[in-house]
Amino acid sequence: MTTAALVTSRPPRTRRPGGWGIRIAPYLFLIPNMAIFAIFTIYPALNGFNMSLYSSSNGRTFRWEGLGNYEQILTSAEFWTVARNTAVFAVAYVLLATAAAIAIAVLVNAQGRGKTFFRAVFFIPVLVSPVVVGLIWNWMLERENGLVNTALGAIGVPGVPWLVDGFWAMVAVVLVGVWMQVGFYMLILLAGLQSIDPALYEAAKMDGATSWDQFRVITLPLLQPSIVVVVVLATIHGFQSFDFIWTLTGGGPVGATMLMVQYIYENGFQSPIRFGIATAGGVLLFLVVFALTIVNWIVSRRREAV
């Protein structure tokens, strides 16, 4: 009580003098969160670099390898297939998801009645568990009897070997990934669209600008900050995709859709277990995503400055 009374009677300062309680309280409030951070994120992140220099087939006994794991990874054909798959998937996914999200957001935003309805419907796939998404689409894309090929057959298009052929499996994985996430990106862009001043469009209309002109000259530039957020998030999501692919293709056929996270998981948890390879793979994935995120921000900043 006395300390509290003292605090109020003094003139305000930037640092509160306070009693023992006030000084110690912030640390006590932070301890649980920071302890979990430290034990389950920061320590493993640092230890990951260390572990990637050892090899282990059981997680208990480790053998020093130096850069041997990296050498082994970077000279293995399997890794380069996985790296290429991941790059192809991520690029196609980011481009398609961003373009589709922009298109849907602009169309939904222009809608008067039914706007909330469409917004909700496009978001629904985001809610479905990715494991279930993979299951449904695996079933729908079945070559002989799947709903997609049946529908295509009905309009005279020959059946596509979706999950049987390597190329088409990758197409399917990209499309399903976009299907699953596009509503999420759409919501971010819709928020950006709502902050654009409608008067700009009115003025453009008076000057006789077409809808396309308005989109190109007003919408795209003013939406750019939101688009950058979407591209960054989609890049991170793209490089980390795993769960829906696991039940959609399982990484097949013959590894054609195996991406980096699955490579890490299988090396780490399916025999033959190679912890060192899996950890080194994680470090490489982190470096790539980190570098790309930085590049994304720099590019977007420079554009803003110009």
Binding site: F29, Q111, S129, P130, V132, A191, T247, Y265, F286
Partner: protein, 294 residues
């Protein structure tokens, strides 16, 4: 804007052509509704197809061409899935993990956010930056080292092993901190003058004021934990601790489980999140718009 109002519903584009209206419907408006409706159908049909399939028998599912509606709407697949597997247990595990993880996240994130928003102390900025920086380190890239920690703590094959490691979400701390900054300092100061302890002030004064932000964090935590797969897959190596997504993926991989039962389980795992979404639509939309978290 007046033209767009004439379109009565999004689901029936044809009506725009036949509806009685004062002004003619513009072609671009009609086209937009057609495109949006096609997109909406593409979003809904797969889920509807799963729902219909969950009532079909294996023979019906194997029919060529596939039939649209099931022959009967009996709940046979659902009851069989319940009785044949420890389905209730997986469901229970999922519920426990989701609720416990969300409660834990709310508790520790809000405390950390309060410290970062309303106190001045040494190392504050460093700790805040460190928190934000961990957004860059997703679980996927440190999967093996985190697993090592969890294993050495004896948490493999336990629900706690799924709950704790990802509970300290950086986005949750960030969102709550931003919200708490808007709470006036005088309010907290007044509570102190009244002799309220620091923790009591936090629980009785600050937390109730943060309900909207807490709700957003809670909703996202529930949706994410319910669908989460990779981490539970790694931790749950024995059947007793499978969550629904893990059980679904494992059973689907063993081709011995009939697909009609898998579809029924898929429907059951989807319905709760759909209900949450229908109730909290507005909070979800603003939450994503403000933070980009999921």
């Amino acid at each position: 804007m007046s033209e767009t109002r004439l379109i009565t519903t999004g689901t029936a584009p044809k009506r725009t052509w036949t509806s009685i209206s004062r002004k003619p419907v513009r072609l671009s408006d009609a086209l937009r509704v057609v495109v949006l409706t096609a997109g909406a159908l593409a979003c809904l049909i797969p889920l509807l197809w799963m729902f219909l399939g969950s009532f079909k028998t294996p023979t019906e599912l194997a029919q060529r061409p596939p039939t649209l509606l099931p022959e009967s709407w009996g709940l046979g697949n659902y009851t069989e899935a319940l009785s044949r597997f420890n389905f209730v247990q997986y469901l229970g595990n999922s519920v426990i993990v989701t609720i416990a993880a969300t409660v834990l996240t709310l508790a520790i994130n809000s405390m950390a956010a309060y410290a970062l928003a309303k106190y001045n102390f040494r190392g504050k900025n460093l700790l805040f930056l460190l928190t934000l920086a961990t957004i860059m380190i997703p679980l996927q890239v440190i999967l093996i080292p985190v697993y090592q920690v969890v294993a050495s703590l004896g948490l493999v094959n336990t629900l706690w092993g799924m709950i704790i490691p990802a509970a300290a979400t950086p986005t949750g701390v960030f969102l709550l901190r931003q919200y708490m900054l808007s709470i006036p300092d005088e309010l907290i100061e007044a509570a102190r003058v009244d002799g309220s302890g620091e923790f009591r002030t936090f629980v009785q004064i600050v937390l109730p004021l943060c309900t909207p932000a807490l709700a957003v964090v809670a909703i996202f935590s529930v949706m994410w934990r319910w669908s989460d797969f990779l981490w539970p897959l790694v931790v749950a190596q024995s059947e007793a601790v499978y969550t629904l997504p893990v059980a679904l993926a494992r059973f689907n991989a063993e081709l011995t489980v009939p697909f009609n039962l898998i579809l029924a389980m898929g429907v059951v795992s989807t319905i709760p999140v759909l209900i949450i979404f229908l109730i909290f639509q507005r909070q979800i939309a603003t939450g994503i718009a403000n933070t980009g978290i999921k």
